[in-house]
């Protein structure tokens, strides 16, 4: 056993001498030289005591003995050292957190020692000289408190490593494992201790009676782990402020030791021990940013919770939250047992880390920077609201996203050196790698001129569309923000701006290629992206402009239908429907005429084609429906000469077409079509038409 101790201590002495805390290790190794076990132990005990006191001051756990220099009385009981000495021990650690943790892990044996010693004071005087013995003892099932604590955490896994330790105590590896596990269990105990101390006694805790006596005994243990965690936590606190920008977020102050003490009456803590907690020490110990082991009920200790929410710090869209909850409810499995590692970090620590991450995600314009998420859920909500047919419920609370603040610091955008190609590759935290945007080089290797030309044109078109899209997005954005109440002048200004943008898009599309004879807008319409652009632009266009577009579409419908390889024409349907809804009769007739007249084909052929195409058919239906609506509405139509004849002609033609050829399913089947046909045609034809149309759509054409 002693060799184990030696091993361990040599480990410590192997570490490079560093300030404070490793110095403790050094100290241990110094004391290691003593052949006398007692002296060793005493030194260790003193060490422990000092650290204990440190811990107590930190955490307000009153110690048993007053100022006992009489280590002899309680060899393992911590006398209160002078605070300054403690200060020396606990100064800023320059090294990274992991070494301290490792080093700290060496303390648990001492901790355990002390703990055991305390237990000794409670009547368990056993020999715990050797940390290895400690561990083995812990491994023994007779140490029910420890095991129960472990069970408390649900980490039954911990037993095995302890048993392993028991079997092979000489293995350094197992030592290390045990140490880490001790660490873990200690942390777990800390949490439990915290729980108890903070009197956040939730059902989990209360349900496990065994740990109650455990806590009294384990006082040493938690303190040890506190020390450890303090040391590790002080790392972040010592990091210069710029690295931890989140300091304003952690305004909490630790409970004073008195408060701590007051909170815990279930612990046998003597109250006569002074708690010298100088503010300086507090400052040293509690960096503003470190997570504090405050009495916190770690939510993850809930055994039932299998699918945890992202932390409470993460703010989800309320709709999203609802979805998750629903899903959680649906898939609520019976708890498969305790998650043994769920308490490695306190909730506080987790929250701290999450906050650190969230800080970097803070944005002053969440809609812009979190665009997809926001918009997605907004649309989803809107859709759901529609589906529920107006059962909209209460208004959704304001959306929450990654926290947004008003940024005060200006961030210099991309550095651009004049004359260079592209941008300087400066990596910032917002754009880790900015690739130098290459200048688009003209392909020089031999290709067919015309192919090159077409491709070039296509590319030009596409890039133009993209640019126009950006403008369109701006338009939509202003439209969206317009719902807020604005002053008159502002609103007018916004509208002007919007209009200018819309006009710009229009102009660009219209005069894209003056040399080209294909006509205005057609090149755009031929591309599916262009179709989408136009479809989204249409609501913003004035009536006559949109009518113009409609005419162009109908005039060139055969071409469009032919070249619509991606079947993206239907995207134009909804806005066109709206446009058609606003047509006058003469306009309507004009459109119908366009539909049926084409240079290359006869009316019959045109119509045949139209009926074969989903979009075309739907458009046709829409037009007819509009005509019917106009006619039956009783509003004076002011038709021009020849309108009605054209109308009836069209009706007959269409009827003939519809009844003969097989129809595709239209996007929408207006309900008044049959009424229209009834008016002009005989019953048999109507019946035929009806059956034909219904067979295509699979639904009734009209409830007549």
């Amino acid at each position: 056993m002693s060799d184990k101790e030696h091993q361990q201590n040599s480990q410590e002495s192997d570490k490079p001498t560093q300030p404070e805390w490793p110095e403790n290790g050094g100290k241990w190794s110094d004391t290691e030289e003593d052949p006398n076990m007692d002296c060793q132990l005493q030194a260790m005990a003193e060490e422990d005591e000092e650290i204990n006191i440190y811990n107590d001051e930190t955490f307000g756990m009153e110690m048993d003995t007053p100022d006992a220099e009489d280590a002899s009385l309680l060899q393992f009981a911590p006398p209160p050292p002078a605070p300054p000495s403690l200060d020396n021990k606990v100064p800023p650690l320059p090294c990274s957190p992991s070494p301290p943790i490792r080093q700290v892990s060496r303390t648990p044996p001492g901790r355990c020692n002390r703990g055991r010693g305390l237990q000794g004071t409670l009547g368990r005087g056993q020999m715990f000289e050797d940390p290895a013995v400690m561990r083995m003892v812990e491994g023994r099932p007779s140490i029910k408190t420890l095991d129960s604590a472990i069970v408390d955490c649900g980490s039954t896994l911990y037993r095995k490593p302890f048993e392993e330790n028991w079997m092979g105590p000489t293995h350094k590896k197992t030592q290390k494992t045990s140490q880490s596990i001790l660490e873990d269990s200690a942390i777990v105990c800390v949490i439990n201790g915290h729980r108890g101390r903070g009197q956040n006694l939730n059902c989990d805790f209360i349900d496990l009676p065994p740990p109650v006596p455990f806590f009294r005994g384990r006082r040493g243990e938690p303190r040890g782990s506190f020390a450890r965690r303090q040391f590790s936590q002080r790392e972040p606190s010592q990091i210069p402020p710029p690295m931890l920008p989140g300091s304003p977020i952690f305004p909490r102050q630790p409970l004073t030791p008195r408060q701590h003490f007051n909170q815990t009456n279930r612990f046998i803590f003597p109250s006569n021990r002074p708690c010298p907690s100088t503010p300086k020490m507090m400052q040293l110990r509690f960096g503003a940013n470190s997570p504090r082991p405050s009495p916190f009920y770690s939510p993850s200790s809930n055994p039932v919770q299998r699918f945890r929410y992202p932390d409470p710090v993460t703010q989800l869209h309320p709709h999203h939250k609802r979805q998750l909850v629903q899903k959680q409810r649906m898939f609520q499995r019976k708890s498969e047992g305790w998650d043994p590692w769920c308490n490695l970090m306190t909730a506080k620590e987790k929250e701290w880390i999450t906050r650190l991450q969230m800080i970097q995600l803070q944005s002053e314009n969440p809609y812009l920077e979190d665009y997809y998420y926001q918009e997605y859920y907004r649309r989803l909500e809107a859709k759901l609201a529609e589906e529920e047919l107006g059962i909209r419920g209460k208004k959704e609370p304001p959306k929450l996203t990654t926290p947004y603040i008003t940024k005060t610091d200006a961030y210099t955008p991309v550095v651009h050196i004049e004359g260079s190609l592209g941008q300087v590759a400066v990596s910032t935290c917002y754009s880790p790698r900015r690739a130098i945007s290459a200048v688009h080089a003209q392909p020089a290797y031999g290709q067919h001129e015309e192919h090159k030309d077409t491709r070039q044109q296509r590319l030009e078109l596409l890039s133009k569309i993209e640019k126009l899209f950006i403008v369109l997005l701006e338009v939509e954005e202003t439209e969206r923000t317009k719902t807020k109440v604005l002053s008159d002048t502002e609103e007018r200004r916004l509208m002007e701006k919007t209009q200018r943008k819309v006009d710009h898009i229009w102009f660009q599309m219209q005069h894209h290629d003056p040399l080209n004879s294909t006509g205005e807008f057609l090149p755009f319409l031929l591309l599916s992206k262009g179709k989408k652009l136009i479809a989204r632009l249409l609501p913003f266009l004035k009536r006559d402009l949109s009518l113009k577009i409609l005419r162009i579409v109908t005039c060139n419908l055969p071409t469009l239908m032919n070249r619509d390889s991606e079947e993206s024409l239907p995207v134009l349907y909804p806005p066109f429907r709206n446009v058609i809804g606003g047509l006058t009769f003469s306009q309507l007739i004009g459109i119908l005429r366009d539909l049926t007249s084409s240079e290359a084909m006869s009316a019959y052929e045109c119509l045949a084609l139209t009926c074969q195409n989903k979009f075309g058919l739907s458009l046709l239906y829409a037009l007819l429906s509009q005509g019917e609506k106009l006619l039956s509405s009783g509003v004076p139509l002011e038709p021009s000469i020849g309108d009605f004849e054209a109308w009836t002609d069209t009706i007959y033609q269409v009827a003939g077409q519809l009844s003969q050829c097989s129809l595709v399913e239209p996007l929408l089947l207006p309900s008044n079509l049959l009424t229209l046909f009834c008016r002009y045609l005989d019953k048999r034809t109507v019946y035929q038409l009806k059956s034909n149309m219904e067979s295509a759509t699979g639904c009734l054409a009209l409830p007549s």
């Binding site: 299998r306 699918f307 945890r308 992202p310 993460t314 989800l316 999203h320 979805q323 998750l324 899903k327 498969e336 991450q357 970097q360 995600l361 812009l368 920077e369 979190d370 665009y371 997809y372 998420y373 926001q374 918009e375 997605y376 859920y377 649309r379 955008p413 754009s431 993209e466 899209f469 950006i470 997005l473 989408k532």
Partner: protein
Amino acid sequence: LFYSFFKSLVGKDVVVELKNDLICGTLHSVDQYLNIKLTDINVTDPEKYPHMLSVKNCFIRGSVVRYVQLPADEVDTQLLQDAARKEAMQQKQ
């Protein structure tokens, strides 16, 4: 952009194709580095990595992901295009 995109997929079933392996599960959370936490996972390929058998939840570092296979109906491509355009706009500024 993608962080925003993945946020909208939290709670959905995805298949994450890593550079060496294939895992499917439910997207629990994602962070700004596109690290992914999956719950209730199972390894899709013949489980060449048997140590994954007992694992139910996992944390995947963002840099080892090759693909993420998504349910198509959870994605609004139009919206994605718009978001990409906005992002491009922002980058230019």
